[in-house]
Amino acid sequence: MEQRWANTSRLTINEKQFIEEALRSEIRVDGRRLYDYRRLTIKFGRYRCLPRATILSCKCYHLRFSLFCCNCREDGSSEVQLGETHVMAFVTGQLLQPYRDRPNEGTLAIFTEFSPMADPSFEPGRPGEAAIELGRVIDRGLRESRAVDMESLCVVAGKSVWAIRVDLHIIDNGGNLIDAANIAALAALSTFRRPECSVGGDDNQEIIVHDPEVRDPIPLTIHHFPIAVTFAFFHEGNTLVIDPHYKEEAVSGVRMTVTVNSNGDVCAIQKAGGEGILSGDVMRCLRIASLKASEMTTKIKEAVETYNAEVALKKVKRHPSLIAQKITVPDVEMKEASFQKTKELSADMENSPNQTSTSLTTTKDKDTNASIGRPLNWDPYSSSAPAIVSSSTLPELVGTSKDANEDQMMQTDEEYDPNLKKDQIASATGVSSGIHKQNSPPKSLKDAVKPKHKRKKNAERGAR
């Protein structure tokens, strides 16, 4: 028991008295004024560096798809620092059945996790009261104010809608978790992109989720930004401060959170703590909060725009011919389409069906041992057996050329297949002299990508 005592953080009588005394003269312990926020930093897309193995929490509709959606993991995550408080938010989407009473609306769910490293009083395991309260306040502000458009998330009414899940992780508790978490959730939702999907297939009931490389993922429609502003009351409601930090929260005991948007609409109000406050104070808080909300909305929007601009800039650098080449998306539904397309490509290839099926089935393995670039997935019966191997880089190139179709999709993301990327560069610079010898191969994208070599490749490409 003493061990537990040794770990909690404590407040001395001196601090309590001092904080209240300082507030009488309207100064706060860190030098802020009463209605000042601490410094706010918003960062995005920190999810990039996770290894693929751990990314599969995004249980997208299609298994194949999920392995490729590493791209979208950069979107929809934000990291917010408000003074010392540090919160991260992750937004993920999944196709699920809608609620029975709302068959044509998507769903939004908020989950909070209070990491034990954030505060000595946070215990691992089931969320405690504070965690549930935080989740509930933010949920009310976002969902019940209809900030995120739910109807646009419907794919097939009654059967399949997008379920958006926001995970909030508290990394460091420096006070005022609600505001910080709210900002993090809004920032993450603004940068989240969901894959585009269309209804098609044989009976017009199948849902095809398009790969982000094929069709750009779509952002969520956010109508307005509900900003949570937290007030702490002292001296029996006479003094109130905005954005209380850890010690002020401990001293005050009465907290009120007001969620408003920049239009002045009140989305949610929540008061916690023992003492009562006057209704006049509540109105005062609402007025102050709407001012703060517009400031905060501008800040968030600026940060989101800067991030979007960066992302757009990165996209431009992609190799231009790649964009046109996403033919064999190895979805089960797409098999037909891809089959046809590859048929076109390798019109002169006798065993093209053989080819495609092997390449389709083997892509799965390819994924798991990606970037090795060995000539795995060789179809021994294929006439494209690349016997002509003159340079040392060839084995890789050869092995991957067959699966070039599938691999192309992964190539844009550097982390995936550095070898493939090398292929890309190598082929682009026309280094691989041996490639052109494989005539038979699936009109490989390699050919398309290397304009330098082989007129006949170009001619064939023209014929496509």
């Binding site: 003493e2 005592w5 001196n14 300082a22 100064i27």
Partner: protein
């Protein structure tokens, strides 16, 4: 163990950052010398190696130690610390000193302390005390008297404001000659401070403004050099028009 660097009679790692495992001295090369080892160093047969990451310091002629800074405190004998009373048991107070265990402060460990005049400390009282017993396993023990039994400024600290820092900053504040930031502030403001080696600092001044100014200046001075500290303190004072 790697023995190429720093293995001479005069180690060249003084004032440099060292990490656990670094070998500081090779005893086989030194004969008939007495070396005093401070914290963070250990004798491993023939080598003196580092146990804690930090800066290696030498006090001529032969005292070596490693200066490190942490947020948690490891109790050592004769350290003066600031503790917060957690509970009052029959024969000692339980005091939190940012150590892995709670410390015991015997109820009689005060100047002229008898069973009749036991001080009444409630939970949350700030105490300035001295560590009299500290080993790794047991709860450390404190005392509010100095070695000769006099009060010597130990005891409860009233009013003022307390904040937490790292142990490195606390040591810097206690160094002599006076830490530049305290000197710069002291030129313009009159205040009193109590620094605990466990990373707690208490500041008191006549007005809350001054207290806040001093505490913020101290918190910001951790990674600044002497001149930078002085400049920072002066800028802060100027901004609040104290000069």
């Amino acid at each position: 163990m790697d023995v190429d660097t720093g293995n001479m009679t005069q180690t060249n790692l003084v004032d440099k950052v060292v990490v656990p495992g670094d070998v500081v001295l090779d005893l086989t090369k030194m004969e008939n010398q007495t070396i005093k080892l401070g914290s963070g160093l250990r004798q491993d047969c023939d080598y003196i190696s580092v146990m804690q990451a930090g800066k290696l310091r030498l006090s001529k002629p032969n005292k070596y130690w490693v200066e490190s800074s942490q947020k948690r405190y490891v109790p050592r004998l004769e350290d003066t610390v600031l503790g917060i009373v957690v509970e009052h048991r029959s024969d000692n107070f339980l005091v939190d000193i940012k150590a892995p265990n709670l410390a015991f402060l015997p109820v009689l460990a005060f100047e002229g302390g008898t069973r009749r005049n036991i001080p009444k400390f409630e939970t949350g009282t700030l105490i300035y005390a001295r560590v009299v017993k500290a080993n790794g396993i047991m709860n450390p023990e404190l005392s509010c008297t100095d070695a000769s039994g006099k009060a010597a400024e130990f005891g409860q600290l009233k009013n003022g404001y307390m904040f937490e820092t790292s142990t490195g900053l606390a040591r810097m504040l206690l160094s002599s000659p006076t830490c530049p930031v305290l000197e710069a502030l002291g030129n313009k403001i009159s205040f009193e401070t109590a620094v605990g080696l466990n990373g707690r600092v208490w500041v008191n001044a006549s007005s809350p403004d001054d207290v806040i100014l001093v505490s913020n200046a101290i918190m910001r001075s951790e990674f600044l050099s002497g001149t930078q500290q002085r400049i920072m303190a002066e800028k802060l004072l100027e901004r609040l028009q104290k000069s």
